[in-house]
């Protein structure tokens, strides 16, 4: 073994030197003598600069990819699944998050998530983005400007409340939705992000009370949004006529495009969460893709057996479920476990949607809980199972990462993260819904609901074929 690796080294050195010698011959002789301190320092600065620029390029692209997931990705995915009288209202709910959460993030949200605070919530040190400039924040990402980190994390803060809108589609007032989700991003999202990713956070993998592994937001994004979705669907009640009236999707084509955009955007979501453009990003990229593909298969096969036909909606829903489940695991597992995670998530989420929803009778209109809540919880658990130090030795150079390395205790840490995400989301959502319901009223009138939210809330129509 030792001899073989020694031989490999010699071979590598030989390969690298031969062309270098060939190139060196015709050029002018290099200046002789030892390099000065000054030269070494400037060389180091140049190397650092090159790495920083490379990382920054990838992180800015990733940030744009994550925004692409909300608009147009999620807006189209959800928009196609509702009836045509509600498409604009549904798309506007996602778009409103792009506006509202951005403003809140700049004022307060970023500071509450990533500022120095206690174990549960950040402080006010970055209020109005104070101190957030082009210098890196070494607490989080030492090679990119803090503003890059800030805007990248903002895109996560945007999509998370937007995911909830699938549960209350076709029946909530625009005003109530805007206030509810704005408050939600401060009361539920920022604290959860701080606990898992923030310095000194309760669940932070490095130094937290329960070091829980969440690479790109399985608990922070998907469990919180999924559980809040379930609570909102139950609190708000069913749509008029559900489940007796048929409410099939009005445009599978739009949903199809949306889901494919989500898949592409997810590379920014997961591979970007490496916060650099190195090998870990590649690992997360590959895992993301593998899980999505396997989950599309898992959902389709289950559906084929269960209902007799493989549907397009099943295939794309499966892909999204796989992307959700791999999110926490993407930077911790190897490619074959990623395939397995996807396959299981596709089958599991489809059964959540086919069986559990209809048995319990709640109207989670577009299955935000069935896909994000269920898939996120499952993914967070399987992260503890398959995480390995071969991919990410986050607990120290030789320390085991997950159960795959024999560290079964990680499953307890993962469960703690999941439990806290469930409790914070359920309680926070319930309190906010109660307040907004008393002050504004959550639901549109039955007349407005049958007219459709496009006309009743916005005074326009998605499709006016007579104009």
């Amino acid at each position: 073994m030792k001899l073989r690796s020694r031989l490999k080294q010699i071979f590598a050195v030989a390969i690298l030197t031969v062309p270098a010698l060939a190139l060196a011959q015709p050029s002018a002789p290099a200046p002789s003598g030892p390099a000065t301190q000054e030269q070494i320092a400037s060389l180091q600065a140049a190397v650092q600069n090159a790495q920083s620029n490379a990382d920054n390029a990838w992180m800015l692209v990733s940030a744009a990819l994550v925004l692409l997931m909300t608009g147009p990705g999620l807006a189209l995915f959800y928009g196609g699944l509702v009836r045509k009288k509600n498409i604009l209202a549904t798309m506007m709910q996602s778009f409103a998050m792009m506006g509202l959460v951005t403003i809140l993030w700049a004022i307060l949200g970023y500071s509450l998530a990533f500022g120095h605070g206690n174990s549960f919530i950040g402080g006010f040190d970055h209020l109005f983005l104070r101190g957030v400039g082009v210098a890196p924040n070494t607490d989080y990402a030492a090679t990119i400007p803090e503003q890059t980190f800030m805007v990248y994390q903002l895109m996560f803060a945007i999509i998370t409340p937007a995911l909830i809108t699938g549960a209350f589609a076709e029946r909530m007032k625009f005003s109530a939705m805007a206030v509810f989700l704005s408050l939600w991003s401060l009361v539920v999202y920022s604290p959860m992000a701080h606990m898992v990713w923030g310095v000194g956070g309760f669940l932070n993998a490095i130094g937290g009370h329960f070091p829980s592994l969440d690479f790109a937001g399985g608990t922070v994004v998907h469990v919180t949004s999924g559980v809040s979705a379930l609570v909102t669907a139950i609190y708000l009640g069913k749509r008029l006529g559900y489940p007796h009236t048929a409410m099939p999707p009005h445009s599978m084509v739009l949903s199809f495009i949306g889901a494919c955009l989500l898949w592409v955007g997810w590379f920014g979501f997961n591979a970007g969460s490496a916060l650099n453009s190195g090998g870990l990003a590649t690992s997360a990229f590959v895992n993301t893709h593998f899980a999505a593909a396997a989950a599309a298969l898992g959902w389709t096969i289950t559906e084929w057996i269960h209902n007799g036909k493989p549907t397009a909606l099943g295939a794309i829903s499966g892909a999204v479920a796989g992307l959700v489940a791999i999110t926490p695991a993407s930077g911790f597992v190897e490619p074959f476990p990623a395939l397995l995670i996807g396959l299981i998530a596709g089958a599991f989420c489809s059964l959540m949607v086919f069986e559990v929803k209809s048995r319990l009778g709640y109207d989670d209109s577009l299955d935000a809980f069935g896909v994000h809540g269920a898939g996120g919880t499952l993914g967070a658990l399987m992260t503890g199972l398959f995480a390995t130090k071969a991919i990410n030795s986050i607990f120290g150079k030789d320390a085991p990462t997950g159960a795959a390395d024999g560290h079964w205790g990680q499953l307890i840490n993962q469960s703690a993260g999941i439990a806290i995400a469930w409790i914070l989301s359920a309680v926070g959502t319930l309190v906010l819904l109660f307040i907004v319901d008393k002050v504004i009223g959550l639901r549109v009138s039955p007349e407005d609901e049958s007219t459709g939210l496009d006309l009743s809330q916005h005074g326009e129509e998605g499709y006016d074929l007579n104009s």
């Binding site: 048929a246 099943g314 829903s317 949607v353 069986e355 299955d367």
Partner: protein, 112 residues
């Protein structure tokens, strides 16, 4: 004068239109319609929920012809639209009292 209303499978519209033109019928109105007869509907699946779609897309052709043209027009429609399977459609014939060409006030068969 007679009005012929034919409800057809949308896929047969072009064939019927061509057959009518060939038979010498010059004017017709086409409506997109939804409905069902004995064919009933079909079922669709979305995320495991089964939906029965009982009103299927159809097209309806309306034309008004002179009494002499009746058989020719009916044969043209039947010939082009029949597949022999359930769901081919129906034709209704009714008598028309008058027809008026808006452009020049012509009445009766000359207005057709």
């Amino acid at each position: 004068m007679l009005k012929i209303e034919a409800i057809l499978q949308p896929s047969k519209l072009d064939a019927v239109k061509d057959a009518l033109l060939e038979a010498g019928i010059e004017g017709m109105t086409i409506l997109e319609a939804r409905g069902h007869g004995r064919q009933k509907g079909h079922t669709e699946f979305y995320r495991g929920r089964e939906y029965t779609v009982d009103l299927l897309p159809k097209v309806k052709i309306e034309l008004v012809v002179t009494d002499e043209m009746k058989e020719k027009a009916l044969q043209a429609i039947i010939g082009a639209a029949r597949t022999g399977r359930i769901g081919d459609g129906k034709i209704f014939v009714s008598r028309i009292e008058d027809a008026i060409r808006i452009r020049n006030d012509e009445h009766g068969e000359t207005a057709l």
